[in-house]
Amino acid sequence: MLAVRDLRKTYGTLVAVDGVSFAVEPGQLVGLLGPNGAGKSTTVSMIAGLVTPEAGAVTVGGEPLSGDTDPRKRLIGLVPQDLALYDELTAAANLRLFGALYGISGRALEDAISSSLLLVGLAERAGDRVRTFSGGMKRRLNLAAGLLHDPQILLLDEPTVGVDPQSRNAIFENLEFLKSRGKALLYTTHYMEEAERMADRIVVMDHGRVLADDTLAGLRQRAGRDAGPGASLESLFLAMTGRTLRD
């Protein structure tokens, strides 16, 4: 469904992304892991059309994405790391705006708002201003905003940062549901247990390059005898990326 091939992006002398390639199939959740500065966010930004790659291509359904107005962007939903919501507006008003950006209007828009709010458990707070929401509720609304136009691909950039276990669990259930409906999910996170629990495949990045792209079992197998059959993803990750502080 989503494929990136040989993506490259530099900022001056800094090579942020260098020849990154991977794919996400329908009904699959791919965990994109990496230390700070590994190039994850830049990769997600290039897929979402926020940053223009210097080389390589992003393809959706086999067709390359090109330009700001490419209609295939409608197949992609972005859930940014920031709470990208208007605090001054109600939940419904936020979703009404984000739906309209994708050309949804009228009855179809109201139905989409209702069903996405229902999915994230905020149907009863539709008319409340976002500024009155807790952090967890804002995270769930952030997810609903990315889902509103029913995209086939969902880009989730650390969607559970700063939420309580209940809201995190609710988000996981939402993602399981979306997977079951055949959506392709790309999920970046620093929480290894989340990737361990949710990801069908794991892409590990560092210094702008892909270090590994495999299932958890495959990563363990690569690590060989030293890691052992029950090695945690965190230990595998540290083995690949090292223990040097990045910040």
Binding site: S41, A48, D68, A100, G103
Partner: protein, 426 residues
């Protein structure tokens, strides 16, 4: 789809603007309050009302017929309010800033002034005690004083007692004056004729002569003969533009805040062109700045009876000024980094623009060299155009140039904004 998205983005901006009702009320009320204050300063008297007079102290140390005549004629001038305190009080009033000018008529002034006028004597002095911080009032009083003193000297020289004595003295000393013979003879004839006239007037055998030869009739010149100057029109134009530009800064800060809060990522990830995204902000910015301007003018029309001479031209000026302000906001957003820092820097730029544009005080009060620069400031085109369409009563043709300049500057601002806008979202 583009129209749906464009409408939704504009609607969102308006919703966000109107969400904070207290801020909206302040945004609309503050320019009205400030413009009302400035308008009251520059509007002049109500119809049939008294114009504020400049307080002038006159200290008559001479007590001559001429000095009394000067005091009397100054007292009839509607531009000044004359009092006659002692010298020390007059000096203290000027020194304390309670009075701009004190006129001191020294002893012997009357006789000396008439003598000098009729012959070639040494000019005598009339002392002005002035407050150096009130140059405009001092200049006005100096001008008025010159006129009144000359009028009094002429009348006194030819018809008053000091004049008669001076003429007799002048006739006695004429032969020894050293003038050329023909000039001396002509002056003798003039003085003798004036003596004759003076005696005839004293005995009642001649009609009064030497009256002021003219009176000044002021005719305000406007495009519409029924239009009258209204200082509130200018102050509401100036303050309206100033707060429209402040609203534009809010627009810029809003864009930068959207970027800081990650909202711009969500907007950019949608299949929308950059033109759509910026056009939406330009439209909502134009609508909000237009609301700021129109609210002020509606208040000014209703409360201060500001005349709208040409409705179509007035609307065109409001729209063009609002577009200029909104495109200025886009440029600020394109050049800014953080909302807080940008707000401070842009506020300074706006204050300079409105000051140079004549929004606070009319530009003709500026030094000549500075006035040339003010024509480069779009605020001046807005203020001049709105003045033309309100109290000046001019026609649409008279605002074609300011309209063109405003729209041209909008295009330049918008082009620079598009060029410099940071589109990449890492």
């Amino acid at each position: 789809m583009t129209l749906t998205a464009l409408t939704a983005l504009v609607r969102k901006d308006l919703l966000v603007f109107f969400t904070d009702r207290r801020a909206v009320i302040l945004t609309l009320a503050i320019p009205i309050a400030i413009a009302s204050f400035f308008g009251s300063l520059f509007s002049g008297p109500e119809e049939g009302g008294e114009r504020a007079r400049v307080a002038v102290a006159v200290v008559d140390q001479d007590g001559s017929a001429l000095s009394k005549r000067i005091v009397a004629t100054l007292g009839t001038d509607r531009a000044i309010a004359v009092t006659q305190p002692p010298l020390n009080e007059a000096r203290a009033s000027v020194q304390g800033g309670r009075m701009a000018v004190a006129v001191v008529i020294p002893a012997g002034f009357g006789a000396a002034a008439v003598r000098t006028f009729l012959t070639q004597g040494q000019s005598t002095e009339l002392e002005l005690l002035t407050d150096p911080s009130r140059g405009a009032e001092v200049a006005m009083v100096r001008g008025l004083l010159t006129g009144h003193v000359m009028q009094a000297v002429v009348q006194e020289s030819f018809t008053g007692p000091d004049g008669r004595l001076a003429m007799e003295d002048a006739l006695k000393t004429l032969d020894s004056s050293g003038m050329p013979a023909d000039t001396r003879e002509l002056l003798r004839q003039l003085l003798q004729s004036a003596q004759g006239l003076s005696r005839a007037q004293d005995s009642g055998t001649a009609a009064p002569a030497m009256a002021t030869p003219f009176v000044v009739r002021e005719t305000p010149v406007t495009g519409d003969p029924f239009a009258k100057y209204n200082g509130y029109a200018h102050s509401f134009a100036g303050m309206g533009i100033q707060f429209a530009l402040f609203a534009a800064i809010d627009l810029a800060a809003g864009i930068l805040l959207e970027r800081e809060r990650g909202l711009w990522k969500r907007l950019r990830s949608a299949p929308l062109s950059r033109t759509t995204l910026l056009a939406a902000r330009a439209i909502s910015g134009t609508l909000i700045t237009m609301l700021t301007l129109l609210t002020g003018f509606v208040f000014a029309v209703v409360v201060f009876r500001v005349p709208i001479g040409n409705v179509a031209g007035f609307v065109a000026m409001i729209v063009a000024s609002s577009i200029m302000a909104a495109s200025f906001g886009l440029l600020v957003a394109a050049l800014g980094h953080t909302a807080a820092a940008t707000r401070r820097a842009a506020a300074f730029v706006v204050l300079v623009m409105v000051m140079l544009g004549g929004a606070w005080v009319p530009a003709f009060l500026f030094p000549a060299w500075l006035q040339q620069f003010t024509w480069l400031v779009p605020v001046r085109w807005s203020v001049e155009g709105l003045d033309a369409m309100t109290w000046r009563g001019l026609g649409f043709a008279d605002i074609v140039v300011p309209l063109g300049l405003l729209l041209g500057s909008s295009v330049v601002f918008a082009a620079l904004a598009v060029w410099r806008f940071r589109w990449e979202e890492a």
